[in-house]
Structures are given as structure tokens and as C-alpha cells.
Amino acid sequence: MRAADSLTAGEVGYVITGLKDVSRLRVGDTLTSEEQPAAEPLPGYKDVKPMVFAGLFPTDSDDYPDLRDALERLKLNDAALFYEPETSQALGFGFRCGFLGLLHMEIVRERLEREFDLDLIVTAPNVAYRVLTKAGEEVEVHNPAEMPREIERVEEPYIRASIIVPKDFVGSVMELNTERRGRFDHMEYLSEQRVLLMYELPLGEIVLDYYDQLKSRTRGYASFDYDVTGFREGQLERVDVLIAGEPVDALSLIVHRDGAYARGRALVDRLREEIPRQFFDVPVQAAIGSRVIARETIKAKRKDVLAKCYGGDITRKRKLLERQKAGKKRMKQVGAVEVPQEAFLAVLNLDGGKK
């Protein structure tokens, strides 16, 4: 490296500034001189807006300050990362983070875990929604739990997806895309064997497990790329989960009206498996507003005793009890119900559970 008066296209260098707050800089900003300031920023650079959102929570709530520091530091070299504090009654303090897309989300999560040695719970990702409330207010919603109840109209982001597959799998890909509310655009034979399929899909339908499904239905051959094209109105519903009558914010989701019942049912079934039996019956419900669309009951435990305990095994029995106690401490308390952290991830792979 050597000092230089100017940098031209194709060159790489650095500038030392007196800037104190690095978060005010973004990739694509235009650098200009004080004496002869440029009238306009250089054309072609857009401020990228995050489209995919997820809640990040430390597994151990004591790690919250570490997560905050890690995000601050990550943000220094990843200007596209967006985050704001979020409080979930079930998962405690964490952050709602916005990502450019799925790959970005994956990378951020990996970096937080590897470079910053954090143990995270990542909630099911969702997209940004533009909502017009009955009161005529326009809001952008990043978290299903914040979706207003009185809605005039909801818009969701759409993507233009290009999928390349061997021709034998065209049928399975079309089937998958139809399930995901995809609209077929066109298809091209790239060669005798390889086909390019172009679809329009709601981003919300691919953030969960679309890629896994695509890969598994094409024996791994499909390749997938997408661009966000804009927002469109959708018939969307907010599905809430109630455990023993208490709504659990971290489990709310926004789904298309046609899939709401199936999703609610799958979620409730899954939770029944994930939540251990308690000392009392625990109803698990999925509801749209005040209308319950699915319900299961986790039956109360009928026995939970250490069969025998005499002088020779008091220590062992005590340790068993201590382990049982420690297991309970790792659970999150929802009302009087102890819910394991895994249950909050149930929403991530609802289809996976059926396989």
C-alpha cells in the first residue's frame, strides 16, 4: 500500500476519515470533497431494504448483552443488516433482525454463532408486510405478533424465481410452486435435459422451507435464484397460538387464508408432541382472531415418582431430581406451563414433521 492522490476504476484503497459513527455509512455511498461537493450521489446504487425478518434470542438470557455487542460489531461490516430490540414473553429479550434474503440470514446467523460464540434461538422467518389498517393508517409489519387485528388490506412481497432443473423434475417443481401460491410465467429448454422455469411467488412462501422442499423433490438437482419484484395484495391471516389460554407471541404466524387451517392444525399437532405433559391438562389452540381453528389437549401426567428410595441410593435419587430440576429450568414459562425451547422452533419445520 502507498499513499495516492486519487483512485480510479478498478483500484482498491482506503480513506481515513474523522467519522465517529460508522453506522452512518452504507455500501454504495458517494464520497465527495468538501471544496467541490458533488451535486448528486453517483447513480445506480440503491438503498437495499431488508425483506426477510426473524427474531434472534440468546438461548441463555444472560447472554443478551453479548448478542447486542455482536450485532453492533457485525453491523460495522454488514451495513445491510437491520436490527431492533424485541421482547417476547416466551423467549425474553432479543432482537428482530432484517435480512436481504435467506442466504443473508443464514450467513448472519452462522457468523454470530461461530465468530461470536453465541447460542441462539432463531424464530421462524417472516417477510415484511405493508398493512393498511381500518383506521386508514399504513404500517410496515416485521413481526407476526405485531400484525394489527383490524385490517383493510395487506400487501406482501413477491419474487421472480428462476429454477433450473433436469426435465424429469419439471412436474414436481410445478406441483411445489402451485402449493406455494406460485404463478407460472414461462419455461425454456436450456438444453435437451435442462429446463428453466420462471415463476412469480410470494416471498413469504419460500422463507420457511421452500429450498429444502425444492431440493428434496428434485433429488438435489434444482438450482434456485430470485429477485424481489414488489408488493402485492394477499388474502393473509394472522394465526395465533394459545397454550393453556395464553397467547404465545413467538408462535404467531401470517399465512394465506387457504392454508390457515392446515397450518394451524399442523402447528398444534407439533406442539402437542414437543410440550411435555404437565401436572394439569393443557389445551393448545390455534386461532384466527377469536375463532379457534385447531385444538389439542396435552393430558396431565398421572404419575411422576421415583419408584424406590432407600439409604443406598439417596445420592443417586437426589442427582436424578437435580437433573429433572435443571431440565425444568431450561424451559420457558408460558403462564403455568413449561415449554421447551424446541417447541418454539416447531413452527420452522411443520412440513418436515410430516415427512
Partner: protein, 376 residues
Amino acid sequence: MSGGGVRHLYVHLPFCASRCGYCDFVTVVGRSGQHRAYVDALLSELALERELLAPRLESVFLGGGTPTFTEGAELARLLGSLPAADEVTVEANPETVTPELARLLRERGVNRVSLGAQSFRPHLLSVLDRRAGPDDVRSAVYALRDARFDNISLDLIYGIPGQSAADLDADLSNALALEPEHLSCYELEAKPGTRFTHAHGSELARQAEAMESYFEHVVARVTAAGYRWYETANFCRPPHLADGRDLRSRHNLAYWRGRDYLGLGIGAVSTIDGQRWRVTPSLGRYLAALAAGSRPPRELEELPPEVREGERVMLGLRLDEPLVLDGLEGALDGEALERLERLGLVRAEQTAAGRELALTERGRFLGGGVTADLLA
């Protein structure tokens, strides 16, 4: 702490005719040539520890292994040399109880026999690798009665792979028909690492749901027959059905009430003055040390006050009598206590004796989980 010496003595007799698959106690199969040497070693160990004991013992308990598998002459010699106690219990396997053995036990001061019946169904006994058949249990009880034993306990195991609700019912009927003074009913524990778990673990997991109601059924049947459910897994005839006698096992009550006890023999555990130790489980090392006149190797565990308090709660809540919380408040999670009270699982009361805690009837069926919640 033990105030004038320990009043409860456990003696371990490890010898067995064969090993049962589900058992994880310290046992030694056969080796009749070593019975004499082992009893010698026990008596030397007793001499070494004698000063820990109170002048008068409340209870002596001979457990195993199969104490009654020990050669008669050696068993008699041991019993004759042990300190006297109000309650002297010997564990016995039914097939070992002959009229001669019953007389021998009685003559040597034994006043309580705990018979490992386990089941009366031949197919279930064979799953458990038990040698005795249903008729052996009956003839053992008759032999003991003939020898004037008026305090007999039967052990039953439920939750055996393949055991139907009807099997369990038949076992309970058979056991109750023998009119024992005391009954212990244990759910089969598939302990990790045993041959049994290896062979039957997955089958047990499959049956878990069907067998969930067995514990309730056991308690319902046995209490309906007039017995007192005085500990999670133990029942006895109440005084009005037993000439005014309190038939709870005094020795085991000592464990559940957190009393100190001395254990002799391989693998035996003692808890005295906040220390717990376990004698080596190795027969060879045990015999060698005592033959040389020294204490056998032991594994020591310090019990700090908070651990002892936690154990007092864990053990005390197994009983049907309330636990006096005097000095134990620190071991409890106050919030959990309130929640469990609201759920109708525990009851806390202020009495003349102080603040007392007890499980409700439903709480007793969930005692393990409730205790885990309660402990701070």
C-alpha cells in the same frame, strides 16, 4: 448430630444363587467358599465402627443380594453377633425360606422378614429372571408364620414387560390373600446399563402409556384392602388392623426422616454427621483390607447443609406424614410452592409443631416432579 450414636444399622449380604437381569445392587453369585470369610470381615468391620453406634439400636436391616442364600451356619453366626435392636429385618427370596431357615431366623432375634415375591405370574417371574414360583412365595409365608413371624413384608414389582392390567390385578389379589403386615410395590426401573434394559428397554418404552395407570391401580387396590399408604411405594396394616402395632418399617422410616445410619459390607452406604460414604463394592478388596485389620476402601461424599436440607425435603415428602419445615425453608422455592398449592398438589400448614408441608393425594402420585419443582 447423631445425638448419642447411630441407631440404625444396615448389613449387606451380597451373595445370590444367580443374578436377576433387572438388579443393579452389589451382588456376588455363588462363591459359597467365601461366605465364612465375608462374615468374618463384616464382624471385623463392625468392631472397627462400633463406637459410632448407640448402646441400643432401633433397627437392623440385612439386605442383599440374597441374605438368606448365605450359608445357614454363617448367617446364624452373624445374627448372633450383631447388636440387638427393636426391629431386625432380613430380606429373603421365597425359594430360600424353608421351615428350618424360618426357625433359625426367629431364634436369632429376627422379627421381620421382607420377602421378594415380585410377581405371582410365572411368565412375568421368568422375564425378571426370578427363580421362585408362585407356590414358593406361599410356602415361604406359611413357613414364616409357623415360626411365629408376625411381621412379614412382601415386595411386588409392577410394570414388567408383558404385564397386563389383569396380570397386575391377579398379583395384587394373590399378595393380599396372604395377609402380609406390610407390602412394598415398586415400579420396575429399567436402569441404564443393566442386561434387562438392553433386552426389554424398547418394549418398556412402548408399554409406558398403557402402564401409566398401574400406580393408581396399585394404590387403589391396596388401600381398599385397608392398608395405609405411608410411603410412595410402601403400605402397611394400620394399628386398628394390627393389634395396635405401628407396622411401618422402622428402618426405612429412618432413611425417609433423614436419620443417620451405618452400613456394613461391600457397597454399603453410611450417612453420619453430614458425611456419606460407600464401602468398596469389590469383594476382594473388602476381604483383604479387613483381613489385615484395616478399614475397607470407601468413597466419601460431603453433604453440605443445603444438600442435606434438599434431601430432607425429597425424602420427607415420600411419607404420608407432614414434613416439619423447621430450618428447611431455604431449600424451597417459594414461588413454586404457591403454584403447586394452587394446583392442589401440596398443602402447607401452620401447626403447633411449626410450618408443615405435605403432598395432597394427587400430589403423591406426582411426588417426583412436584419435589423437583419445590426445591430451590
